[in-house]
């Protein structure tokens, strides 16, 4: 069995005193990480059977990935929860996960205790200090197979219940190997972490160091609000590699970090030695990407595409020229370990150049949705084009096209899902939560792509403030509409259904 845990032991032997993770004022070496992972694995192996979920509620410190890996080493899988998420959301996740163990750091212990969790809460600081029992851990570790789950990550669900994407050890290694074959990190590289740990993009930042000996610098989320300081911080940390959401790149560019004033001075007083910038999550604004390209002319920029169900990203496109405002950037070709294909409305292969639903296959696919057999069966299906044996594919719901060179293009969605701040959001989930608010009769959620603003149009006696406050208790901040607009009457079609097109126009 070859897992990320084996890699950790190897890198800890090779670079024991090199930093795996750095946060503002401290660092964790590979040897220390390996030791803490064994401590956590011991704690978990004493308390839980392999192949069971362990929930984690903790801040963005380097103890958190040590806990993730410790849980994995004990043969279990981790379910990360964002402490900034509202209580109702955390309760929903705990309800889906139904774990016996919840690991919480001391800053979030009281929060963990307030969630009505019926299992046992273990303090993370205690878990990382446990005396390792290698024999006990080895016994649990031996239970792992390639297809054992390593994590379950939650995404927005159109039913109003978050969907837990369950991913195997092997799938995660496939993705990490796929991306690293393209970006070729080594021990001289420093990665700047943007993604929260409960988000798929974080697996690159957390685990590429273990594969390559690189170091990840944990950035504080508050640093992203002040873009010039953020860029200067990357420079001070010597960051060579960014694997960020498109929005993460757009914000500093939009707020002028790279703009030059009359005196010739750039917003950011110094720039990091970036070798490559990899982005994903949504279609980036070309003018803002161009600002990055102009500020970093020697840096390689890579556009990635892929859903959480395909474990990170499944395709990439190396942008080899300064982008123009009106061009459409390809999502490229599949990474190693991945294959992609299109299916038309009749589940046939579309003619060359025609559009179809993007489907993904290969060993890097997720195992399915945790505790949701129906949703799993609908999205992970047998390939209708392979009639000789069973081949599993994931239907992304994204519409795409392949050009004559074999490069894929993303053209939109089959359903109403949209991407906002790198997160994918089902508007139905926001509408469902809104419909429970007193004084709200009817509503429709619309995304304005250009302004990157979620709108909620509603009828009823509730004020927009009532609605915003109520939604903040239910949904993560990024899902709460920033424009909540009262309507005398909801536009309707002759059949009584909401006239979505008419409402969409109001958000433009």
């Amino acid at each position: 069995m070859y897992t990320i845990i084996e890699n950790l032991r190897n890198v800890a032997n090779k670079h024991p005193n090199k930093a795996a993770y750095i946060s503002k004022d401290s660092q964790l070496t590979f040897a220390e990480l390996d030791s803490k992972v064994s401590s956590v694995a011991t704690t978990i192996a004493k308390a839980e059977q392999p192949r069971r979920p362990v929930a984690v509620l903790a801040s963005r410190s380097f103890l958190t990935p040590a806990c993730f890996l410790g849980i994995a080493k004990a043969g279990c899988f981790y379910a990360p929860m964002d402490p900034d998420a509202p209580e109702a959301r955390l309760r929903q996740i705990l309800d889906v996960v139904n774990a016996n163990i919840l690991l919480a750091d001391k800053d979030h212990l009281a929060q963990a205790e307030s969630l009505g969790f019926k299992g046992r809460i273990i303090l993370m600081e205690d878990a990382v200090s446990e005396t390792p029992d290698e024999e006990l851990v080895a016994k649990a570790y031996d239970e792992i197979t390639d297809d054992s789950p390593i994590y379950v990550l939650f995404t927005s669900g159109s039913t109003g219940r978050p969907k837990g994407v369950l991913t195997s050890h092997h799938a995660m290694l496939c993705y990490l190997d796929g991306i690293n074959t393209v970006i070729g990190l080594n021990e001289s590289d420093i990665i700047g972490n943007q993604a929260p740990y409960d988000y798929i993009a974080a697996i690159r930042d957390l685990y590429l160091p273990i594969l390559t000996g690189a170091t990840t610098v944990m950035l504080n989320p508050s640093e992203f609000a002040m873009p010039t300081q953020l860029i200067e911080r990357l420079a001070d940390a010597g960051v060579t590699t960014l694997c960020w959401s498109s929005t993460g790149l757009e914000i500093p560019a939009k707020l002028g970090a790279f703009d030059v004033d009359e005196s010739g001075k750039m917003g950011a007083s110094k720039l990091p030695p970036l070798r490559r910038v990899v982005y994903s999550g949504s279609v980036i604004s070309n003018p803002l990407l161009r600002k990055w390209q102009d500020a970093f002319p020697d840096t390689v920029f890579i556009n990635q595409y892929g859903p959480t169900e395909a474990t990170g990203s499944c395709s990439y496109f190396v942008i080899d020229h300064p982008v123009e405002a009106d061009e459409v950037i390809s999502i490229g070709r599949p990474y190693k370990h991945y294959q992609m294909m299109l299916l038309d409305a009749d589940d046939k292969a579309p003619a060359p150049g025609e559009t179809g639903e993007i489907c993904i296959k290969g060993p890097a696919l997720a195992l399915g949705y945790y505790d949701s057999p129906e949703q799993t069966a609908a999205a992970f299906v047998d390939n209708p084009l392979e009639t000789h044996y069973r081949e599993r594919i994931y239907r992304s719901g994204d519409i795409g096209r392949i050009d004559e060179n074999g490069n894929y293009y993303f053209l939109g969605r089959k359903d109403r899902q949209f991407k906002h701040l790198g997160h994918r959001i089902e508007p139905e989930e926001i509408e469902q939560k809104s419909m429970h608010i007193d004084g709200l009769n009817d509503c429709m959620c619309v995304y304005n792509e250009g302004a990157k603003m979620i709108y909620l149009f509603y009828t009823g006696t509730a004020t927009s403030k009532d609605i915003a406050l109520a939604l903040r208790k239910e949904l993560p901040s990024y899902m709460v509409p920033r424009k909540i607009v009262y309507l005398e009457e909801m536009p309707r079609l002759p059949n009584g259904k909401i006239d979505r097109k008419a409402v969409e126009v109001m958000a433009q």
Partner: protein, 77 residues
């Protein structure tokens, strides 16, 4: 300052802007709020918030934001 308060309250009705003094430092305002805010402040008060103005000290409280806006308005003359 009332106009500024209105902008803030309509954007984030959940925040007690009158009393908070660490809006950015304590991450009450997120990066995306800052983008909306910079745009709206620019439109409403006819000022240009420069990258060098984007420091926590200028956004941690309503008073600090207002002081920045007044300073930027003076700069324009």
């Amino acid at each position: 300052m009332n106009e500024l308060m209105e902008i803030l309250e309509s954007m984030r009705p959940d925040i007690d802007f009158a009393n908070e003094t660490k809006l950015v430092t304590d991450r009450l305002l997120e990066s995306f709020d800052i983008i909306s805010l910079v745009t709206e402040i620019g439109d409403e008060f006819d000022v240009k918030v420069k990258p060098s103005d984007l420091v926590p000290e200028n956004f941690d409280s309503v008073e600090a934001m207002w002081a920045m806006i007044e300073r930027l308005q003076d700069d324009d003359f």
